[in-house]
Symmetry: C2
Subunit: 206 residues, 2 copies
């Protein structure tokens, strides 16, 4: 079985950087936006639409029970489309994992690939260092006040948590669901990645 | 400033083993029971009594407010003794940290030494592997059924959580309070320790 590393991450914590560095160290592919491109190609839907679907759980899809009757609050075709996108995500991620060792960031990959026994990382940081990282990485956020940027960070994380909960039934970021949780507020990502890569290489294949 | 590593750990997760190995790798002292011995020497109280005090928050010490009057539910001398033990714990741990690099397991050391900017580890595992580890490490637990042993594990953890909350005001095991959280259900402790030691050596001193 291939060696799969999944990376869950709080927005602005440097999870993507850690994932990329890890893939480089291990000499294996790193998947992130590629998943969205692949789903778009398979479903013939726009990447931007896929992105939007994948960043929100379909909360408004929950059926409402009134008396003994179930009412759906969304048109069937929309529900079907969201489900198709998720199904394609599952297929795409499974195919990636079957092809070779790889690092996959986000996308509930830890849950989707649970039979592969992936090495599951979760990357997080305190708000001050996430604000700093966001400012460095996305200069377009410079127009936002600290308060607005913090609101954005919390909104993205809330959506990730809801999405994860909806599709996996698990709590996003809960240590029990991961093998290693790394606080990048103080830990140096480069040094951490180097050490993790060495450790992962030493672990027997699942 | 010395390099201090603190290890919080769920009961049966292998935190002590990880702490010991880390101290060996880094060539620095490892403190655990030594703290209790030192407090006993300083306070002239029995080690077993110190152990008992340090494993329970003094919940029954919370003063009760009735109207504008404060009532204590415990005799003053007992409250005083518990506070003395905690004060000696703080002094002992600070002196250890001032003396040299070291690894300290438990005892709210992450909080007590926060000005030292310790590298804060938390070690945890799922119940199945904690049961297995407890059986291996403490043959006297063999007489307990799985249900009883699980109850014991949960009780020890509950006491640790309450104690930590009482003295630090923080949530025990909450990732935000640690730099690295390690799930030993799957991660090999020996390999993880080696990687952590390497990473810690590469980090600049606080």
């Amino acid at each position: 079985m291939n060696r799969i590393i999944t990376v869950g991450r709080q927005f602005g914590s440097g999870g993507r950087e850690l994932g990329k560095r890890l893939a480089d160290e291990l000499g294996c592919p790193y998947y992130d936006k590629d998943i969205i491109r692949e789903i778009a190609a398979r479903t013939q839907l726009a990447e931007s639409y896929i992105q939007q679907v994948l960043e929100h759980r379909p909360s408004y899809f929950f059926p409402i029970t009134t008396g003994n009757t179930l009412h759906s609050t969304t048109p069937d075709y929309l529900l079907h489309q969201h489900t198709s996108v998720y199904t394609e995500q599952v297929n795409t991620i499974r195919e990636m994992a079957e092809k070779s060792d790889c690092v996959i960031v986000g996308r509930c990959a830890d849950h989707i690939l649970r039979e592969f026994r992936p090495f599951r990382l979760f990357v997080y940081a305190d708000m001050a260092s996430r604000l700093e990282r966001c400012r460095k990485k996305a200069p377009e956020d410079e127009a936002l006040s600290d308060k607005e940027l913090k609101k954005k960070i919390l909104r993205v994380d809330r959506n990730r948590a809801r999405y994860y909960r909806y599709y996996t039934g698990q709590v996003w970021g809960q240590p029990a669901n991961y093998d290693f949780c790394i606080n990048t507020s103080w830990v140096n990502i480069k040094a951490a990645t180097h050490a993790l890569a060495q450790m992962i290489r030493e672990e027997p294949l699942p």
